[in-house]
Symmetry: C2
């Protein structure tokens, strides 16, 4: 059993796979690990896979939004991937729209989206 | 809390991040999910990240070896990445050498190794 969620690196992208219900402290650890790794790796994007999660409540929703905000301030876009259909339906029913969080169907599409965003950014004057 | 370990796909590579102590049934589910996904995705390689694991005992060691054997039969090479130094030391002390399991320091090096292996395979007559 681990106390920290691993942050994996693929080129300029960081990948986090959330598989367990996170306690408050694990969320703080994850935010810290991720921030440090964005800076040290010069990461341009973060992918958070939630395909293992059967339930996404307001706590998890807030965590995703916070991670996206922190990452953006450090120059990295965040994409949440792998959301189950039932989770999407529940989120809408609860009125939790994950504002400010981009989503994609799966990891591959998430990576594509990040590449597109990164190109768009570098094309700016 | 999930009952299954997610199997992520990046091109021809499948990625599994093991973060919790797996029960027998979860191991069987993972082997089944992974086998099916290797076939359906035509995957050439499997990366198993164990950076979250503080302890790798003979049960986990056998699981990694079994996954590597199954994957090989389906045409995919397996690389275990992210092993902690303390885990490596304990494995050697216990005489568990993870026979038949390739390892690499981290995800990026594991992906590189798989690409090299894949090229070597296709270069064969």
């Amino acid at each position: 059993m681990t106390d920290r969620v691993p942050v994996l690196k693929i080129g300029e992208i960081l990948l986090v796979s959330i598989q367990i219900d996170l306690e408050d402290e694990m969320v703080l650890d994850l935010q810290e690990d991720l921030s440090q790794k964005i800076v040290s790796a010069g990461a341009k994007g973060v992918v958070i896979d939630i395909s293992a999660l059967e339930i996404v409540d307001s706590f998890v929703g807030r965590m995703l939004a916070t991670i996206a905000s922190i990452s953006r301030m450090l120059g990295a876009e965040t994409v949440v991937v792998g959301m189950r259909p039932a989770v999407a339906m529940t989120l809408v029913e609860l009125g939790l729209s994950l504002q400010g969080v981009r989503t994609a169907l799966n990891l591959e599409r998430g990576l594509k989206l990040l590449r597109r965003l990164s190109t768009a950014h570098s094309a700016r004057p």
